[in-house]
Point group: C2
Chain length 412, copies 2
Amino acid sequence: MVDLEQLGQQAQQASYTLGLLSTAQKNQVLTAMATALTSHQDEILAANAQDLENPQVPVKFVDRLRLTADRIQDMAIGLKQVVSLPDPIGNVDRAWRNEAGLMIAKERVPLGVIGMIFEARPNVTVDASALCFKTGNAVILRGGKEALHSNQALVQVLRGALRAEAVDENAIQLITDTSHATAAKFMQLTDYVDVLIPRGSARLIQTVLAKATVPVIETGAGNCHVYVDKDAQLQMATDIVINGKVQRPSVCNATEKLLIHREVAADYLPSMIQALREQGVEVRGDAATQAIVPDVVPATDADWGTEYNDLIIAVKVVDSEAAAITHINRYNTQHSEAIVTDNYQAGKLFQQRVNAACVYINASTRFTDGFEFGFGAEIGISTQKLHARGPMGLAELTSYKYVIDGNGQIRH
Amino acid sequence: MVDLEQLGQQAQQASYTLGLLSTAQKNQVLTAMATALTSHQDEILAANAQDLENPQVPVKFVDRLRLTADRIQDMAIGLKQVVSLPDPIGNVDRAWRNEAGLMIAKERVPLGVIGMIFEARPNVTVDASALCFKTGNAVILRGGKEALHSNQALVQVLRGALRAEAVDENAIQLITDTSHATAAKFMQLTDYVDVLIPRGSARLIQTVLAKATVPVIETGAGNCHVYVDKDAQLQMATDIVINGKVQRPSVCNATEKLLIHREVAADYLPSMIQALREQGVEVRGDAATQAIVPDVVPATDADWGTEYNDLIIAVKVVDSEAAAITHINRYNTQHSEAIVTDNYQAGKLFQQRVNAACVYINASTRFTDGFEFGFGAEIGISTQKLHARGPMGLAELTSYKYVIDGNGQIRH
């Protein structure tokens, strides 16, 4: 069993020095990391081959696990993109003088030590390390056992770049013991870890939420709805539903449910369902949908709360916008929801009443993404309300500190 | 056992309507609550008398538990102060158009349902209810068993005002079953409760952190230090230490430790310790302090991590500012720390390197307080880095939502 206490102490110690680096220093290190990835490509690919040779790796993991020269190049490009992003650390959100004459400045600081828990995607190792480093955070990575050799090779390269630039290499550490017992202990390392960010399947995230005593940012579950209002432009609705469902069905901002106002259902559903089927989508429907398009797969109660992450959609006819909102607030994961309507009131009501990180009028749910939002990066998409909600970029990896200048004030 | 599921559902349902109330509507309800407290004073005092008659109430709880006509009046005044505060809900932090042409607005929304866990102070019932209501949050209160009758009477009055103003009375609910089993279940009510805020002893807060699966905002522990630098104005240092230690020793922003630079220790400590003793403070000291003032109580290792909340202070002589910073970052609770110095570099270095919510130059740690900061209210002082740090006012009881207007955008 690895000594997590020691790992934690080392990370905390590193975090104190990271917070003091200038933006220029951090960018220089990130650039060095990009160069090192390219120059150590062979070792990384060799380690990755070891992972891929493991007969216990499930077939479905192979694609996300496989590294190639191109993919390593993409990682290096990703690092350089992080270089180009503005550094939020040291920004002052606001400053004011209080009644006693103290000057109070609310200044952005790193969170400290971030724990990343993820599965078999080695690119997360590099992405997360870069974003944490740019924001002055130390990171402890706990990736899936299937990617262990790849992650070790990548982390060794990144740490080599840190050493070469005279930065504490414990800014980036990997937990090489991938047992569940060690993971559980990691989730309770409250003395040293400031926040845990799990990335991966719903099951992984639920496990972390259940076991962690370190504060967690819940990410990723997306049971996203499109509600087609009676005043929708129907072609626009079709485009938005098809885009949401088909463009990349495996991701969390994909559309999983279609709600449609009863007044337009009979005219609209046959062509809408036809369009979905042409894209290879399995369409499930409630009783009203079945009455209009008899050959849909009957939807069960379990469908409404399910995130398929696949070419499946469930359709429900609703009597009103209010019914659509009630249904969404009951079954959604507070990720992304959309209404298609030309009615101003209907659109604004939907945005106001739907409980989700991102609420769209007349746009695809697929836009919920740090890059699409213009953040230039994304560490995950938060589905909780505490700290950060929706796409998380660099700003969401910061905390703040009140820096207060006085001249002898005491309280009366 | 109370039906927590039902309580949670009711709170969530209420929260959906609360988020839609205008500031004027919320202020009218808060004003009605203030009036109702005054007009129901007799019932409240009678219920409080029941609590006070309980022979099992520890003597130390009696003062904080006791209500009087004046204290009820103070609660009503507190409600009216909350009326006068600006409402953060609906504010747009920023809005921008992304590359695809979507208008994205980051809008302040309520957190949803807040769980407050506290001890025997009935005033928390009214304070927390007012702050949660003003920010459109439903609140579920779990107060200490010693204050149950008082809390029931207060909540009944507040709910009466909600009903009279045609607002869902489940905006404010009290858990009347004060068993530990019910409290533990409450801390895991993730389907309905968005955040837990514990207020009270370190033991209470640690219990909540250990048991909760609902996100927690950790509050209140304050092992606060004053470091007297070699370039300090010594009279200013004495004033700041005395104020921090003596003005209200039981609270979390009281000064608990004095660190002093070796160069000035011998000249300064005798008068400083004398001044503390004149205020009735027990002074404990490390070996170096004992060498200067032989009759101090020897400090043990346990002292450095202890929050006394009492007229006790521990003194340590340090070789340098760096040693002071290292000591503080090792033992503090990330609450409030102060340096006394006339050296610009020393002051700025301290603010940059000390890991705490509030870092002061030349001011008393006692200023860490929502009212002193000018927030006009305080729900607690966060000692974590996630979501909120330091004094939490109304803004810290909000989350945000991205409200996104399109005209048919799909992702390419």
